[in-house]
Symmetry: C2
Subunit: 453 residues, 2 copies
C-alpha cells in the first residue's frame, strides 16, 4: 500500500501553498531530539523503514482521488501524481548512539519534498528509537542475564512488530512474538500460561502433560496457585524427566515477591539435585525493578519483560523533531531557526555535521559543526544514505544493526548508563556554529519582534 498519505494534512496544505506561490527553495531539515526522557543517550532505530518509505514514495490514484474530495487544487494534484523524492539525506546509521540536539538525520531537498516526509520520519524514528533505548537500559540493568520480550499483548496495536524489532536492536535476546520470528528472524521463546495450568484438574497434571510433549524444552510456570508448592511439583516432574534421560530446563515465577521467592525456589531445586534448572522471572518488570532484584541477590537467571519495554512506559513517546535549519535562495544559504523561550537553547541554524571524539574505543565527546568545517581527530557521524532521491547505502541486516548498537553501547562508559542521575554526555558546538546562532537570534529579534511588519 502507498504510504504517501501517512502524513499530517498540513504537510499537504503547505506543499500546495509552496507550489502555488512559487516558493519552493532548497531546504535542509534536521531530525533531532531536544531531550531524551530516559537518560543521556539514544539508541537510534527505524532508519530502515524510512529508507523503504523514500524508495516507494508515490501518490497512487486512490490517494489523489481522496485529496480531490478534500478540496486540493487540480494542478497541484497533477504535480503529486508524478511526485518522487529527489533530495539528499545524511544520517547516523541505524543502531548508532546519539545525544540530544545532534542531527540524527539531515534532509536536503526542495522544501515541498522535504516537508512531506517529515511525519513518516518522525512517526517511525521516534518510536523505534524510544523502544531500542528502553531495551538497552533494561539489558544493562540485567547485568548479563538475558532479557526476553513478552510485550505483544500490551503493545500499541499494529506497532507491535517494529516494537519487537527495536527491543532486539537494543539488546533483548528473544521475543514471545511469533510474527517477529517469522518476518524478522528474531529468536522466539515461550512455554505455558496460567490457563494451561488451570485447564487441568490438578497443577501437576498440567506439568506432566507439558513435559511429555516437550521433554527437551520444558519450562514450568509455578505461581498459578502457590509458588512454593508449584516448585515442589516441578521437582517431581523434573525427577520424572531425569528418569527418561531428559532435563527440566526451567521454572517461571510471574507474581509475588520475586526476590524472596526466587531464593526459596532455588533452594528447593538445589536440594533436589536440580541445580541445572534455570529460574525465569516475569510480571510487570522494568529496568529499576530488575536492578533492585539483582542488588538484593535474587536468584533469577533470565527476565521476561512486557508492558514497560514494549510501550516505553513511563515515557511512551520520544519528542524527536524535524526542524528547518537552512534555505537556499538565489544561491545563497539562509540559516533558519524558530525562536521561542523554550527552543532558543536547543535549536541550531544552518546545515550541520556531527563529530565524535573517540579515545581507545571510548566515546569522549561529540561536536556539532557547520557543514563546511572539519574537526580533527574526530569521526564524522552523518553518512550519506540518499543522493538525488536514490538510496546509495547498503542495507544492513537486523543482526548487524543490533551489533552496531552493542558496540556503541560498549563504547559508552557506565556513568552515562545509570538509571537515575546519569552523567550528561558532552556535546559541544564549533565556534562558527555558536557565532552563527547568535547572529541569527539577533536578526530575528530585529526583523520579527520589534513590530517592523
Amino acid at each position: 500500500m502507498s504510504e504517501a498519505l501517512r502524513t499530517d494534512l498540513y504537510q499537504l496544505t503547505m506543499m500546495q501553498a509552496y507550489w502555488k506561490s512559487g516558493h519552493n527553495p532548497e531546504a535542509t531539515f534536521d531530525y533531532f531530539v531536544r531531550k531524551i526522557p530516559s537518560g543521556p543517550y539514544l539508541v537510534t532505530a527505524g532508519l530502515n523503514f524510512f529508507l523503504d518509505y523514500i524508495e516507494n514514495l508515490r501518490f497512487e490514484d486512490d490517494d489523489i482521488k481522496y485529496l480531490e474530495t478534500q478540496g486540493f487544487d487540480h494542478e497541484f494534484l497533477f504535480y503529486l501524481r508524478n511526485f518522487t523524492f529527489t533530495g539528499d539525506i545524511f544520517a547516523m546509521l541505524e543502531g548508532s548512539i546519539a545525544f540530544p540536539i545532534e542531527p540524527i538525520i539531515r534532509v536536503t531537498a526542495p522544501i515541498m519534498e522535504a516537508q512531506l516526509i517529515e511525519t513518516f520520519l518522525l512517526n517511525k524514528m521516534n518510536f523505534s528509537s524510544l523502544i531500542a533505548t528502553k531495551a538497552s537500559r533494561i539489558v544493562h540493568a540485567a547485568k548479563g542475564r538475558s532479557i526476553a520480550e513478552f510485550g505483544l499483548r500490551r503493545a500499541q496495536g499494529d506497532g507491535y512488530l517494529e516494537a519487537t524489532r527495536a527491543t532486539y536492536i537494543g539488546g533483548c535476546a528473544s521475543t514471545s512474538n511469533v510474527m517477529a520470528g517469522k518476518i524478522l528472524g528474531i529468536p522466539v521463546s515461550g512455554t505455558m500460561a496460567h490457563s494451561f495450568v488451570t485447564s487441568f484438574d490438578h497443577e501437576i497434571d498440567s506439568y506432566r502433560a507439558y513435559a511429555d510433549v516437550f521433554p527437551k524444552r520444558c519450562f514450568l510456570l509455578i505461581d498459578t496457585y502457590d509458588t512454593i508448592e508449584g516448585a515442589r511439583k516441578a521437582v517431581i516432574v523434573g525427577k520424572e524427566l531425569e528418569e527418561r534421560g531428559e532435563k527440566l530446563l526451567g521454572v517461571r515465577l510471574d507474581s509475588g515477591d520475586l526476590c524472596e521467592l526466587s531464593k526459596q525456589v532455588r533452594r528447593i531445586l538445589d536440594e533436589a539435585g536440580l541445580s541445572y534448572v534455570k529460574i525465569v522471572a516475569s510480571g510487570d518488570l522494568n529496568e529499576w525493578k530488575i536492578e533492585e532484584l539483582i542488588d538484593h541477590g535474587a536468584r533469577i537467571d533470565m527476565f521476561g519483560v512486557g508492558t514497560e519495554l514494549i510501550t516505553g512506559r513511563p515515557n511512551p513517546a520520544l519528542d524527536g523533531i524535524y526542524k528547518l535549519s537552512d534555505v537556499v535562495e538565489q544561491g545563497e544559504h539562509l540559516p533558519k531557526m524558530k525562536l521561542s523561550e523554550e527552543t532558543v537553547k536547543s535549536t541550531l541554524p544552518g546545515k550541520k555535521k556531527v563529530w565524535r571524539v573517540i579515545e581507545k574505543g571510548i566515546f569522549v565527546k561529540d561536536i556539532i559543526s557547520l557543514d563546511d568545517e572539519i574537526m580533527d581527530n574526530a569521526k564524522p557521524l552523518l553518512e550519506q544514505i540518499v543522493k538525488n532521491g536514490r538510496i546509495i547505502c547498503k542495507r544492513p541486516s537486523l543482526d548487524m544493526i543490533r551489533q552496531r548498537a552493542a558496540l556503541d553501547l560498549a563504547s559508552l562508559v557506565d556513568k552515562y548508563k545509570k538509571l537515575d542521575q546519569a552523567a550528561v554526555y558532552p556535546v559541544e558546538f564549533s565556534q562558527k556554529l555558536a557565532d552563527l546562532r547568535e547572529s541569527i537570534v539577533e536578526k530575528i529579534k530585529r526583523d520579527e519582534i520589534t513590530g517592523k511588519s
Copy 2:
C-alpha cells in the same frame, strides 16, 4: 497477510501440548480489565479488528514452514493447516462503556482455539480501548470545544491508524492523519507548521502566501517568533482577506502561556474587528491542562492534542487480561480461576453474563451473574457476535460506533468522569456467583496448596 502468527509462542506450544495429550476440552475465557488506570470507566474499542481476525484466521503455507523450523510436531502442523475457529463469542458492542472486572468479551471454544486467539484479542482491544477512553476524557474536559487529534508523529509506529480511529470513537472531531481520512473517513484538519513560516524571509510573507492559496480555509500559526507580534501580523492579513471578501478562519498558538496569550490575542483580534476569528491551541496538551485552561478563562475555541492522546500517556497500556473461567469435561462445567494474593479479589470463575441497571437513561449499577441467571429490570450487555465460528452480528459503521460511545457517555453521570478522584461505579456480583467464587477458592486451597501432590 495471515495474522495467525501474530501471537505469543506459548499459545502454540500450549496448543501442541493440548493436542498431543488429548486434552482439548471446551473452555470459556473472559476478556476483562482489573483496573482502569485513568478512572472508573472504559470506552471499549477494537472489536471490529477482532472480528476481522476471527473471520480470516488461517495458517498459510509460510506460517507452517516457519513453525517447522521451530521444532513443532509434524502431525500438529498438519492440524494447523486446516485450523479454523469454531467457537462462540459474546461481547459488549464496540463503543460500549465497561467497568473493571466485567467480561467485555466471552469466548467459548475448544481450548486450543480459545487459547490461540488470546494474544491478538488483547493486543487490539487493550490499545483501542485505552485510546478511546483517553479521548473521551479529553473531550469531556474541553466542555464542548472540539478536539483535533494531532498525534501521528508521536504515535507508536504502525499503531497510528487504529489509534486515530479510537480517538474518533472517543469523541475527537478531527485528525491531522490523512491516511485516517482516506481509509476511515474521519474528518482531517491542519494548516501550517513553523517551518512554513521560517522558510520565508519574513513571517508576514508566509501568512500572505498561505492566505493567497487558501483564502477560504486559512488558519495562521502565530508563535514562531513572538505570539503577540504574530497576532498583529495575522490581523493585517485578516484585513487583507476581508478586502477580498474572505475571512481569516483562525490563528493557532503552540507554545508559551496559552491561557494568558489566548486572552491577549483575543483582545488584539477583537479590537481589530476580527471577533469571528477562532483561536486554536496546541502544544503538549492533555485533559488536565485543558481543564485548567478553561477554568482560568482561556479564550480558546478548539484544542489540538497530540502525544498524550495518541499514546495514552501517562498510561500507555491497558492491563486487560483474558482468563480461563470454565472448562467442560464429560458434560460437566468445571469453573476455573487463578489464585494468588493479587488476583483473588478480581478473578471470577464460571461462565458469566453482565447486566446494567438503567433508570431514566442513566446508568445506575452493573451486575455480573452466572450464565444461567436472569436479572430483572436490567439490560444484558453481552451479545452473541460469533456462533460456531461464523460472524452473526452486523458490522456497524465507525460513526455508529462513535455514536454509541457518545450515548453511553451521556448516560454516565459526571461524578464518574472527574479527572481525579472520580466516584467508583457500582459493579455487583449475583449471590450465586459470589458463592461459586468462595467454593472454588476453598477447593484450590484444599487441592493445590496443602501439599497433596
